[in-house]
Amino acid sequence: MDITSVVDEVVELTGRDPEKVVLILQEVQKRLNWLPSEALKHICEVTDITPEQISGVSTFYSQFRHLPVGKHTIKICAGTACHVKGSPLISDAFKRVLKIDNVRNASPDNLFSIEEVACLGCCTLAPIVQIDGKTYGHVKPTQADEIIHDFLISGNQPVNTPESVINEDIDAEIRIGIGSCCVAGGSKEILSEINNVKEKYNLNIRLKPVGCVGVCNQTPLMEIVTKENIHSRYTKVDKQQVEEILLKHVRPRSLNKRIKGSINDLVDTFLSEEKLSGQVNIPVELREKYLNNFLNHQVHISTKNSGVLSPESYEEYCLSGGFEALLKCIKESDQKSIIKIIADSGLRGRGGAGFPTGKKWGISFLSTGNPKYVICNGDEGDPGAFMDRMLLESFPYRVIEGMIIAGFATGASEGIFYIRAEYPLAVTRVRTAIKRCYENGVLGNNIYDSTFSFNVKIFEGAGAFVCGEETALISSLEGKRGTPHLRPPYPAVSGFRGQPTLVNNVETLSIVPWIITYGQEALCSMGTEKSKGTKVFALAGKISKGGLIEVPMGITIREIVENIGDGVINGNTFKAVQIGGPSGGCIPASKADTLVDYEELTKLGAMMGSGGMVVLDNTDCMVDMAKYFLTFTHKQSCGKCTFCRIGTKHMLNIITALTEGKATLEDINDLEKLCKYVRDGSLCGLGKTSPNPVLTGLKYFREEYEEHTRGICRANKCRDLIKYNVNDSCTGCTKCSQECPVKAIPFKPYEKHEIDQLICTKCDNCRIICPEKAIEIINING
């Protein structure tokens, strides 16, 4: 098909409206794999889009490509959790193995291109690599070859997820997680294998796909509930084991007893970072005991019924009390009372800044304009955060219900889901859910026979972190470059198309139905004086048990790390917690008794942010962390205002010099001054908060910054300040020599090996492969 007819076909679908520019570009790229200038030109010819608009927009969002790429795209996640677990080395490894040409960004056979993406939202499986739709977790640099091989053999075959049916007489229900983390762990393969086994033995079981279970770093997770209501959970299930596991449960139960004896030993390893050799079968009473720590310190509001609800099933959501809140609002309440309930509950925006939700609704309610809009902000871009993805994937109906209530309360008639492009599964789930809602009459005209009508559509973001800022988000919706502007005017007064627009975060909306059902006091009684209710965090990094957790406000950071997360991995020392991503900061272990509370966290120089919580240990370098976040914000800056556009570049230059051991103490002072100017002078939240990682670093870890001026990195992380060395444990097994991609280790069987420092690229392969732990990283100046 030639380019012009592709464009014609797309425009036929989307219409000629300039507001549709992002959608048109997305659809054209989907078909052509890139955006040739001929296509752009033809778009301008057949729509009302101008050449200026299409050029500005298509180069603003990182999703759009103006050069052809390889057939398959290897996305390497550069999120925080992946970064601390070594994603830069992974990226290097893939580039090396595939011989990627940096200019063309494609392998010589044009099969693969590499793209580093901000965050794929699978932080608990870090580091992550995604090839087309297929995700690989816990990747090591030495596995690049293996992964490419696996991908080429298995490809990316979609597996249909069966609809769950209710009230069926069955022997057992098999629950399998189909959140992104579980899918990345291979749950779709497991699902199809269960189907195979089911057919092979004609088992009377029901297969039930469920949303996120929360225990994301042990995926795929499979739960078997027999008709006697005995729950058994299996973590990290392998395809080969499916048959065995199923037959254990659906056959005579006596088999269960046989393995019971061994359970106690395995209890401690459940949910731990250690690789489980055998699958753990856990009877209900024991399960309670050790899930106790991970799950029972949590309070589920946004994530209510996690691991039980089938994400796409409208019926199940209703059975669990879904849409009752909406019915209550429409039938028994009025706009002002609903807003008052939300205001009295003390609910604050979960997107980061913590603006009181009730107040926002009130402003929108009082603003005049027709139509009014409600936007659900799902442009979660913080590297290290994936709460919104999980909520949209697992509880789409809850968020939709929250949005309809918000629409009813503020007098809006249209809702828009703004979901970032990196979350295809979330988009699919929400799309299905919206469709089901229309079919069941909770969306559309005259909802519950009232005069209230509400319509919802989805807008897929195109890859720009700054669009999480509400004014930038609205620009983006209007088909413009996603640049923010100063508030006021607030969107609640003048937003999308100049109309009153309520912008709420996914998590905020997901709490709304709960408040309506249980009352404002229920939420208000939870938390601290100014921060009420719960907060969902994505707990990842150097932590034993990671995943999506929902905790009451006012819990201490230490409780989260030690009780829920079970401390740091590998016996390392807990050093700090990074909260709030690029806008937040690193809270040192010494301040771990701080409460989770908007004001408390801000006082420390961090912020609640959207809820990424990455645990750092003594092998993490604080300067490197600051550099990581600055690189991110600098790259994501929209470029509108001077301080953010140029200021962050100067900051990054100084930090980079520090990690190379080339900066002076005076540079650190300059850096600190610059941080304050950028904080004061930037236009929007992205710029204003971008110095936080550096400022908290300087506040709590200044001595580490100063050490770098002397060329010392105590965590042995900064590449220019370290070297690889073979110690006396070397047995001369030659594995390192064979694995070294640049031949920096001469082959010397039964002798102590040596690394040629001039050739070594510090790819880490030798250290991973060494069976004797004989390869160590030492400081170049130490």
């Binding site: 200026e52 180069t59 006021p488 994501q636 001077t642 570049k649 002078g681 236009l683």
Partner: protein, 357 residues
């Protein structure tokens, strides 16, 4: 009505006005680069920062709406140092020269690039006027000078310097007695003014300046007549800024007594785009990304204009991806040049409207 305080003075104004609007009305001076009364505010340069004393935060006054009870500080040292920082940041990526090296080293401060532009345009009358003004205000004659200008000439890095000295002498020989009386001009000495420097130039960047001398057939050392003068002056690379005396960025840098920041940062290689149809020149390294030209082009559907390309630090002003630079702004060249606060947009044949007057 809204009541607020600006620099401790009370104001009562109608709703919807910005702090900058009110300040201008009250005669309080706030510097700005990206604001223009004919376009909606945009807030890019952040030179117009003021402080909200109650909220303890800083705001760009061009888009900050006046709100009841505000207490705005426009002139404290704290505010000024933030403004100063924004200008220094803008200058730190301003890889451009206000004055050409030849002019800087000339003991008489002769405007050599301008003379070359006049000669290559064969505008000998104006060239003679310029020569008279130069000689009169400096009292120096080129024949008495060892020719520092040619030593500094950037063309030297490509092949040989432009024959500046001979060109100037040739023009001065054309001065007649009656002209001398008419040309009572004084050249403004600009050595005291702020001067931006270009920093390190890469080899391929040097090629960009050569785009201005595409018509050079051969080089001439001895200037004997107007034809050879025109031919040799064509080889001038015009290293100076055509907006040297008409640059808001330079004015503001002067106002804040700023020295050119050391160690310029590079967001993209220097480019000189020349529209062969209109003579419009765009130099990305001089651009401060205020977006005024983009906003000016936005409302004209009939001809392609300028737009932003890319995001963040590497964003630049450019012709649309689907167009050629030669085909844009057929009628609006002068408008975008006039609105540009720097010399990023200029006309190839540019002459200062009243040099030396």
């Amino acid at each position: 009505m809204v009541k607020l305080k600006i620099d401790n003075a009370d104001f009562e104004v109608k709703e919807g006005l910005t702090i900058l609007d009110i300040a201008i009305g009250a005669g309080i001076k706030i510097p700005t680069l990206c604001n223009n009364k004919n376009f909606p505010h945009y807030s890019s340069c952040m030179v117009c920062m003021v402080k909200d004393q109650k909220k303890e935060n800083f705001l760009p006054s061009c888009s900050a709406l006046a709100q009841d009870g505000m207490d705005i500080d426009c002139s404290s040292d704290e505010v000024k140092s933030l403004r100063r920082e924004s200008i220094e940041l803008l200058l730190s990526e301003h890889r451009a020269e206000c004055e050409a090296p030849c002019k800087v080293v000339c003991p008489g401060g002769y405007n050599i690039p301008l003379m070359n532009r006049l000669l290559s345009a064969k505008d000998f009358n104006t060239a003679v006027q310029l020569s008279i003004a130069q000689i009169q205000s400096s009292g120096l004659k080129c024949k008495d000078c060892p020719g520092y200008c040619e030593n500094a000439c950037r063309r030297k890095k490509v092949d040989t310097p432009v024959s500046i000295k001979n060109l100037q002498i040739f023009v001065s020989q054309q001065i007649k007695m009656e002209n001398r009386v008419a040309g009572q001009h004084n050249i403004k000495k600009s050595s005291k003014r702020f001067a931006s420097h270009i920093g390190k130039i890469e080899a391929d960047e040097l090629q960009e300046w050569l785009k201005e001398c595409k018509n050079v057939i051969k080089r001439v050392r001895e200037i004997s007549d107007s034809d050879s003068a025109a031919m040799e002056s064509e080889s001038c690379m015009h290293c100076d800024c055509r907006a040297a005396d008409n640059c808001r960025l330079r004015d503001i840098a002067d106002e804040f007594s700023i020295k050119d920041p050391r160690g310029k940062i590079v967001n993209s290689p220097i480019q000189k785009k020349i529209n062969i149809n209109t003579g419009l020149i765009f130099e990305n390294a001089k651009c401060i990304k205020c977006g005024l030209c983009v906003r000016l082009c936005e409302n004209s559907k009939e001809e392609p204009g300028l737009c932003f390309i890319n995001r963040g630090f590497v964003s630049i002003i450019s012709e649309p991806l689907t167009e050629d630079f030669n085909d844009i702004l057929k009628t609006k060249s002068q408008e975008v040049i006039d609105i540009c606060p720097t010399g990023a947009l200029s006309l190839k044949t540019h002459q200062p409207p009243i040099w030396g007057a």
